[in-house]
């Protein structure tokens, strides 16, 4: 119950200080590009993470990645298939890849889901217009934790 309330608050007020316990500037990467510390201190909800993964208006991870146990038609294949991903990477590495995958894979086409500055011609979401103010991250801190929790269940 508490988790879904927090996530809802994050969705309603994404970008405000109260919704995100940390900002991108606070994130500490290890030398492999992983992020050891939870972004919120609140355990992620794997069910919510699966929803974020599959939903176009949320993480839309399925645009590029397949997870065969998910009920999401036409998964993309620009990124690697993620069955068994938890056998290959721990939560620290998964969190780092979600926060900013370029810290793990230099030059990757995967977007950084928690980064909010340093972009060329950033826009106001998908309007094609200039942003009104500071950018919100693509996913909130708790949504990142939820996706990490979901991916951590993918063992073979």
């Amino acid at each position: 119950m508490r988790l879904s309330t927090l996530t809802l608050a994050a969705l309603l007020a994404a970008g405000t200080a109260s919704a995100n316990p940390v900002t991108y500037a606070d994130v500490v990467f290890n030398e492999d590009g992983g992020v050891e510390a939870s972004l919120t201190g609140v355990a992620g909800n794997p069910e919510e993470g699966a929803k974020i993964f599959s939903t176009k208006s949320m993480g839309n991870c399925v645009a590029c990645h397949e997870v065969s146990t998910l009920d999401a038609p036409f998964p993309g294949n620009v990124g690697p298939m993620l069955d068994g991903v938890a056998d290959r990477w721990d939560a620290t590495q998964l969190r780092g890849i979600l926060v900013n995958a370029k810290m793990t894979y230099e030059g990757t086409v995967m977007p950084a889901y928690f980064k909010t500055d340093g972009f060329t011609r950033p826009g106001n979401a998908y309007t094609g217009k200039a942003p009104d103010g500071p950018l919100d991250p693509l996913l909130s801190a708790q949504q990142i934790e939820d996706v990490v929790a979901f991916l951590s269940t993918l063992k073979e």
Binding site: V62, A63, C64, E66, P73, F74, P75, G76, N77, V78, G79, P80, M81, Y105, E106, G107, T108, V109, P111, A112, F119, T120, R121, P122, G123, N124, A125, Y126, T127, G128, K129, A130, P131, L135, L138
Partner: protein, 284 residues
């Protein structure tokens, strides 16, 4: 099934930027049973190290969509060509002229034009695409009002001018006075924009043949433009498409008709040097 081997390789080769798997089909395109379209060709020299083979987006569409382009009666884009045929013959402006007054039969006088545009105009001292050239004629020779960029008649006329060059090889000049603008367009092609931080190359050079959800990524060639998009039920020009693509990187996009997009249009057109002019084409 066909995604599995790709994905397995992707897992093994994550750090390799170019997987180079072009999952295009091997069909061949002949329009009206007579116009042979070159839809695959060796890449032009300036793409050495980037692409070996260039391919029309036609190869990345399903059979039903492909078939619509094989007969002008099935190609909804040809309805707009017909509109433009009417405009071609219609007197407009203070000088009492139509396009035909000076240029006669469009199929004769405009044959080959689309293949070399955008192109440096020596008298004007600038690179021009077709729509810019239309407006030069309209304002300076016809005494008519310029068309807004991508306004209906401008897009229709672009489709007509393309249609009479179908089957001819794209051959856009990238040297001489056009070079500076070409270089600018090349830089834009490889610049990652927006919060998603994607360049044209991220999808259309590194990942053509792969799927973003149900969307089959092509090489982003514009030899077949203008394109009739089934989901829009209207014609789209290269710059109109660029606007949507840049927007979809969560970027502040550029305006169709801007110098930025003219540079990108010149550069992207040159990536198709060797393919046939194919527009108006049909895509989903």
């Amino acid at each position: 099934m066909k995604f599995k081997p790709m994905s397995a390789i992707a897992v093994l080769a994550l750090s390799v930027p170019t997987l180079g798997m072009a999952d295009a089909d091997d069909d061949s395109l002949v329009i009206n049973g007579e116009i042979e379209i070159v839809t695959k060709a060796p890449a032009p020299a300036h793409l050495e190290g980037a692409l070996d083979e260039i391919m029309s987006g036609w190869h990345f569409r399903d059979d039903a969509t492909q078939a619509m382009e094989m007969d002008d009666f099935d190609n909804p884009g040809m309805l707009f060509v017909e509109n433009a045929m009417g405009v071609w013959e219609t007197v407009d402006g203070s000088e009492g002229k139509s396009c035909a007054s000076c240029h006669g039969d469009v199929a004769e006088s405009m044959k080959g034009v689309k293949a070399v545009y955008p192109k440096w105009n020596e008298a004007a001292g600038e690179v021009r695409n077709l729509q810019m050239q239309f407006n030069d004629c309209r304002t300076n020779r016809m005494g008519a009002e310029a068309w807004g960029y991508d306004a209906g008649p401008a897009k229709d006329m672009e489709a007509l001018i393309a249609s009479v060059s179908r089957g001819m090889p794209v051959n856009v000049a990238i040297d001489g006075p056009a070079k500076a603008m070409w270089e600018k367009g090349k830089e834009m092609f490889y610049t990652r924009t927006g919060q998603l931080d994607l360049s044209c190359a991220s999808c259309h050079e590194q990942n053509y043949g792969n799927m973003i959800r149900a969307d089959h990524l092509s090489q982003g060639q514009i030899n077949a433009f203008p394109v009739y998009r089934l989901k829009d039920t209207k014609l789209t020009t290269p710059q109109g498409r660029f606007k949507g693509c840049v927007r979809d990187t969560r970027a502040e996009t550029y305006k169709p008709g801007s110098e930025d997009f003219l540079a990108l249009e010149l550069y992207v057109a040159s990536r198709g040097n060797g393919l046939s002019v194919e527009g108006p084409s049909v895509r989903n």
